[in-house]
């Protein structure tokens, strides 16, 4: 097959990939610094914190990167406002290209479960699967909860002007549980579905390359491909493979991120019994 053959379908814009890249780097940094603080009593947590300059410095990094994430979410919210098709509003919000949940997602979820168990045919997904929509909105809910509680704790003198000091206790536990949920979801569920299941193994580099393999998309998202074909838009979104160097970089970077996430997950699970909650 010629390297210029259009065998891939455009899925993400460069700006969307940049958002994902920054989120990925920031999330891994927050996970590492947060776990370094939480596991500071153990050698594992101690060494993890040393990467960032120690127990206290890890907190400083955690706060600055956290503020960066909150800012990133605000910028992304503005970006969303620009991306909305205001002429077709509000119907455009519930179209197949929108990430907003719609009733078909619930139907797809149960049909998918039926397919897992051998009861039914796999659902014909459109551009976004229900699990991708969940991942997308989970980031919003996660950053909102973790961000607000994090800011409360990062600026305690200011925040306790407007709330009692015991609010810091409450904020701490909300922050901690939500962060553990986010890490567990990302490092187990997102990593497995996006990269480690057979369909995508060893890595789905769509997010790094911007385009998905047409064959794979045709197999997993037939409704999307047939919609584009019927609308005569398919040829316009077909692209050729990225340069080999870009693909290699995508693989190296992606594998490094997955390895870092699994290292944090396994380290946290192994050492969990040695820490004081």
């Amino acid at each position: 097959m010629s390297p210029t053959a259009k065998t891939r379908i455009k899925r993400f814009t460069p700006l969307q990939r940049l958002f994902h890249l920054l989120l990925m780097l920031a999330f891994l940094t927050q996970s590492a610094t947060g776990l370094a603080r939480m596991y500071g009593q153990t050698p594992w947590g101690h060494n993890l914190g040393a990467l960032f300059g120690g127990y206290d410095a890890a907190r400083t990094v955690h706060i600055y990167v956290g503020i960066f994430m909150i800012s990133g979410m605000a910028v992304h919210a503005l970006y969303m406002l620009f991306k909305i098709n205001w002429r077709g509003f509000p119907g455009s919000l519930f179209g197949p290209d929108s990430l907003l949940p719609r009733p078909a997602d619930i139907k797809h979820f149960f049909q998918h479960i039926g397919w897992f168990l051998g009861f039914s045919q796999p659902p014909e997904f459109d551009r976004w699967g229900y699990w991708e929509k969940f991942d997308y909105w989970a980031v919003f809910w996660g950053i909102t909860i973790i961000g607000i509680t994090g800011l409360i704790m990062a600026f305690p003198y200011f925040s306790t002007r407007y709330m009692p000091g015991w609010g810091l206790n409450v904020a701490f536990w909300i922050h901690r549980i939500e962060a553990l949920l986010a890490m567990g979801h990302l490092f187990i569920i997102h990593f497995f579905i996006a990269h480690l299941r057979r369909h995508n193994f060893p890595m789905d580099h769509t997010m790094f390359e911007g385009s998905a393999d047409l064959e794979a998309a045709r197999h997993e998202r037939p409704a999307w491909i047939s919609r584009l074909r019927q609308g005569g838009e398919l040829d316009g979104v077909l692209v050729s493979e990225a340069m080999p160097l870009q693909r290699v970089l995508g693989y190296v970077f992606g594998f490094a991120a997955v390895a870092a996430g699994l290292f944090l997950l396994i380290g946290a699970l192994v050492n969990v019994r040695y820490i004081s909650w």
Partner: protein, 235 residues
């Protein structure tokens, strides 16, 4: 004979000097106010940090004048039985009357209070916040721990600029998972269980989903992509 007498005299002199020396030495450390044992007190923590000992002093031995509004006023006698029933929230010496108090460690009774972040992560000792003996009850009017001055007398030692509101942070936070926390810190207990429900709900939904998906794809027949795409392109 003279030789034996001389040896006895030397031995007697040595014994006398030894006795005199022992009498002239300072009394054994156990009799001083400083707690002496680096092994019994805080055990491994003591060895690891080394700075607990200097804050440890035994309680004073007087019977302080205490006043409990509506309960009792006057000199309290030391009494183990009375100690069990005394209301300790407003005492000048909150540990007054506790049996063998001077030989006990804080954590023998306050074990839960040694497991919070200030103790475990910041390595604070009890004395660094609660001060030396006698430790007044938190609600005693002159206690540094009284909420009217805690922020300035205690918290501000490390948290410069802390306010009275800031000092409302619960240092000895109850375990949020316990049922008793619904009574003594209900907001924390509710927040904790709501968050746990969200987290558990997410995992209960998506973990089996992920596992089933992985297994299903593992045993899926490999499809002939070329023939499939060709047939679709012909549509």
């Amino acid at each position: 004979m003279k030789k034996k007498t001389a040896i006895r005299a030397v031995l007697f002199l040595c014994a006398a000097l030894l006795v005199a020396g022992i009498m002239l030495l300072p009394p054994p450390a156990a009799a001083q106010d400083e707690v002496t044992s680096a092994i019994r007190r805080y055990k491994d923590r003591e060895v690891s940090t080394g700075y607990y000992e200097e804050y440890e002093v035994k309680p004073r031995r007087e019977s302080p004048f205490v006043e409990i509004p509506g309960v009792r006023r006057g000199i309290f006698r030391y009494s183990p039985a009375a100690a069990k029933v005394r209301i300790r929230t407003r005492l000048a010496d909150s540990h007054q009357g506790i049996k063998f108090y001077d030989n006990r460690r804080c954590e023998e009774c306050h074990i839960e209070q040694t497991r919070d972040l200030h103790t475990v992560r910041a390595n604070l000792t009890c004395r660094q916040c609660h001060g030396g003996e006698p430790i007044a009850s938190n609600a005693h009017y002159y206690s540094p721990m009284n909420p009217i001055r805690r922020h300035a007398y205690v918290c501000a030692k490390c948290h410069e600029g802390s306010s009275a509101s800031y000092a409302g942070y619960v240092v000895h936070e109850p375990n949020p998972a316990l049922a008793s926390t619904f009574k003594n810190f209900p907001v924390l207990a509710v927040a904790f269980w709501v968050m746990v429900a969200i987290a558990v709900g997410t995992f209960v939904l998506f973990l089996p989903h992920t596992v089933l998906w992985g297994i299903r794809e593992l045993f899926m027949k490999k499809e002939n992509k070329t023939s499939e795409s060709d047939s679709q392109d012909k549509d």
